[in-house]
Subunit: 466 residues, 3 copies
């Protein structure tokens, strides 16, 4: 019954989206459309031809290319998330985790085209100035009045299509962080609705506070590529989801012990972490929003060194806590270092990046233990990695960042996390009331793959445990 | 016995290829060779030094770099194909499927260097003008007469080496589409011969009709990056192969029911699909043949939105047909959307890309059912994805493409598909007569890996079913 | 007990590293730091502003971007190594192999920042001129005296951060080659110490002989991207490690027969090889150290064709030796071709690249057999691929390379390999004396994953063999 409803909703959404987006298209021709976009970019130039013949145009080509390449790299992070989250969960939930990530990416791209981009970069179309605005449905290009175009006043180094693609890939990362944390026990349709609400509304609104020129950017808050705006937002939504669901059956014993429920494929998780690191070069490097040589190369060195230091520190810390060479924590350490450096990659020097990354690596190991003590079950450590290290990284900018205010960092981080927690709580309550939140015990024990997808991830192989 | 023959043939081919290609090399020096190539590129400039000191040179650097980066991305699609095709087949045929993809890529690169590139871009060396030409063996650079160089008249933004590399990576994709569709029952040497014929002759010849300046380009046919020229060609060859082989043992019941023969690793298939999407940014984006900011960014937004819409539409459609959240169809939907937008990514606006992608996603789910009804067994849905959606995408350009003719689209698609079906049929008959086509029942049941490669894909793991 | 020592050492190293690197940071601001770096780049220009407004600046942006993108590609080779090495080993050692690769990458990046970069590019800070120098701890940027900066005299196309990142990614590849060859029987802490010595000292010192402007560069030795400087160095260290350890239990029978101990996942190994090929486009292409169109495109065509020819030749050769379509040798052939062309990718034409690659593919298959005859157990064929083909590729430059001296190639290759063998022997002896080298029989049979990491790679799946 429900599945028909859902299918119809998706089809209506698609048709609606297509109409909304294509409604923006001038009727005459694609070429005219492109010319108009190009004229918008040209800024001070009388025409696109004038811009093309100026010496500035070649730098524009390179800058635009770099931001597009960065969008590809952020795209491949979605395979990274799908791999690490499925690898760190049981094989009986593998298809389900991947389906979630794919759905989140695809729905995120489409909803961002319809409402997200315009919510996040409202330009002068304010509802509550600095807090909420909306520039209209669609990617927002309106050939009739290019001068009014919502983003024309803040970008100079790339076309509007490039801007949209890079930002859309970012938006989907925030929401996909949720999927691993709630794996194994959430009803599939409930996840789909929850993730859609976060990616469509929560992420773009807090994003607009800083990157859309809102009140936090006025305050002097600095979150270069989104330790808080992306990662802590995703981590906070994951926390609310995991808390509301409760732990997987068998995770915490009656006498308080924490049972290890290992992921089913360490190589798959490894592929995911390396792809996330790879993609992070675009996530952070592309956030320079131009190919400025000094800026992007410093950002990328900081990114690489923080990741390396995070992993080494997590390896070392784990030898004190679990007394072994803990490979899962080594992977978590990479991600912790990356999340930690994301807010300040442009504002610190490499020695400081190593310190920030190393402390992230220590923190993530301790946070995993602490979150388990709270009996919040997070199979992929998304809360420790993205929320805890995201907050830490943003605050670290207030400590080491060149000319940054710790107070502004504190206000920015706290307000974004608080807002996301509240919205996530409301969203979870809506989902719980309408669709219900948690799978039945039978579904959980048998696995989400069989129950929702009728599809085993590895049908040829015998299970070691039943 | 045969294996020696094959080995000798391959060695002869290599030596021959090396001589043919190196025969083109001027005896004096590599540097001179490079200078001459560079002079060719320089076009109107008296010397390479003049070109280098002109303001146009920096744009040339960027354009050339972008096309090279695109070639890397198309390269990684080959890992995508290997992953998706092996993941969607049984574990007993995994090594074999991968061996096929690797062989197709490697043989394709070498044969394209020897004959393919020159067949596809014959310049003025016509045999049947507009239909068939051949510029000579080798990559075609001839220092003695750069003015005659076969591609000098149509490219301006990259070197001949770049041109070759990008086109060679394309050529190999068309042929590798076959390997998954015929998996599980084709004799390995037979596959190798069949794929070699397709990549060496069939693909370059139809390619020359459009991209080599042949009769279809004169007609006004528009196939931007190859919905038909690459994907429908590969899909048609796959259809002929799958039809000639017949279905795998046990696929279709005596009473007409279709038995599910699921792939052995859903994560492997997922990695493949994401890598294909990633690589498609180069496949479509690089087909602009320059780094023109407005053109590449629009193409890439269209590509991403069509893939997302394709997946969502396939998810939705599957809930009506198979009544579950069908994860395999969700993956197919991504590829369907990508194949569908490939012909017109430069000629439509994002709203239209969403519509084209979504309809591709609906179509692929229905086509999979329809092809099974015809008892044509295609383990990886290559025919539904590449042939059906390739045709659809090319025709869609005639509907929404800015100033395109539906009639030209119909003629172009029909003639290329028809030609490929005929050549594939002939090739299959040659293979059948000489080497035989189908593995013995014993080999099929025991798996191609053991029979041809003496190598299990996962020797450490117990099989669930025997 | 030991684990605490190790943890403390790692933490001290991190803190020390951070201080050393950040000690280089001017106290005033990041912006000033960036400006100073930029001024260094500007070369003949009075200020960075002057440079920016010159027509040369745009080419600098592109060149810098290309070297950074190449660094990303070399980075992903580390996932390639982790995948191919774990895929070619038993499932009981999978976590361990991956832990090694991740540790090597992370420790390599940090130690290269602290001492390696400065050892390899000492500038005028000589200890033994041409053989050994050291420019001081840290990445080496000193705002107080940019004119003295150690690398300012040899790079022109990228920033110092870019230079560091690209070179650091290279350094870690050399050391990570070891990890697969010694898998299954080395004590984990012993590996960690051994790899750290190689990446911190051995690789940068021989690297300085050629790329740091040392005696081999004076001699006319040509090793474009490191067939010897990277691959033979890693392969020689792998040889010493594998030889010192002895073979895995059961590899060689009492009566001289070689027992096949197949890797546990052919798809994982395949993913690794394709990613290595993908990354090699950056490894070789980035070694041009600018985006020069003719140079990079020729290098990349040579790289692709050598890889393809290597694989086809290995496929063919294997049909003569093992009489089957040996898929593992097909993968080895790709890597052999890549290693073989690395020394001369800029100095030969495509026809010659095919010959060099094809002969590498023949060589690797024969070398694998020969090394087994010597009872040196190398589970991943690292010695055959990286040492044998590395030497061959470097010598081949003396045969076909445009204006290169065979004698110089011989001297360079021999001296680097000899030095590395000696240093590796000393390092192995230090490790053996202090930590011991080989795991106990119990650990080896039970697997490194359980013993050192307490973590199975695939806990959900039943083992086929015990």
């Amino acid at each position: 019954m429900f599945k028909y409803v859902k299918a119809i909703v998706i089809l209506i959404l698609l048709v609606l989206g297509a109409q909304l987006v294509s409604g923006q298209v001038p009727s005459d021709s694609v070429s005219t459309g492109i010319d108009a976009v190009e004229t918008v970019q040209a800024g001070g130039f009388a025409s696109y031809e004038d811009f093309q013949s100026s010496p500035d145009f070649t730098a524009f080509i390179v800058d635009n290319l770099w931001v597009l390449l960065s969008a590809f790299l952020v795209f491949i992070m979605h395979l990274g998330f799908a791999s690490v989250e499925s690898g760190m969960n049981a094989s009986k939930n593998t298809v389900s985790v991947i389906y979630k990530n794919l759905f989140t990416l695809c729905a995120g791209l489409i909803t961002y085209a319809i409402v997200g981009f315009s919510l996040m970069y409202p330009g002068d179309f304010n509802i509550i100035p600095g807090f909420l605005g909306f520039g209209g449905f669609g990617i927002g290009y309106d050939a009739a009045s290019p001068a009014d175009y919502l983003t024309s006043n803040y970008y100079e180094s790339y076309t509007i299509w490039t801007d949209f693609l890079f930002q859309a890939m970012f938006a989907a990362t925030a929401a996909t962080i949720i999927s691993g944390a709630v794996a194994g026990r959430i009803k599939m349709p409930s996840y789909m609705l929850y993730a859609a609400i976060i990616v469509t509304f929560a992420y773009p609104i807090t994003g607009s506070w800083q990157w859309g020129g809102g009140w936090l950017s006025e305050l002097g808050f600095h979150d270069f590529a989104g330790s808080t705006l992306v990662h802590a937002v995703g981590g906070a939504a994951a926390l609310v989801g995991a808390w509301a669901l409760g732990p997987r059956i068998g995770k915490y014993g009656a006498d308080g012990q924490v049972n290890d429920m290992p992921g089913h494929s360490f190589p798959l998780a490894t592929i995911g972490v390396f792809l996330l690191w790879f993609g992070w070069f675009g996530f952070n490097g592309g956030s320079v929003l131009s190919a400025d040589p000094a800026a992007i190369s410093l950002v990328l060195v900081n990114t690489a060194l923080a990741a390396a230091a995070g992993s080494l520190a997590a390896m070392a810390t784990a030898t004190f806590t679990v007394h072994k060479l803990d490979a899962t924590q080594a992977l978590n350490g990479v991600l912790a270092g990356l999340v930690g450096i994301t807010a300040g990659a442009d504002a610190v020097m490499p020695g400081q990046a190593i310190v920030i990354g190393a402390l992230s690596g220590v923190l993530v190991v301790l946070a995993v233990i602490g979150i388990d003590k709270l009996k919040i079950d997070d199979p992929v450590s998304a809360i420790a990695v993205h929320l805890v290290c995201g907050i830490w990284g943003t605050l670290a900018v207030g400590i080491w960042g060149d000319g940054k205010s710790f107070q502004a960092q504190l206000i920015g981080t706290a307000s974004i996390v608080a807002f996301t927690l509240v919205v996530s709580y409301i969203a979870v309550m809506i989902v719980k009331t309408t669709l219900g939140l948690r799978s039945t015990e039978e579904v959980e024990l048998g696995g989400a793959d069989a129950a929702y997808h009728g599809n085993a991830a590895y049908p040829d192989f015998a299970q070691a445990s039943t």
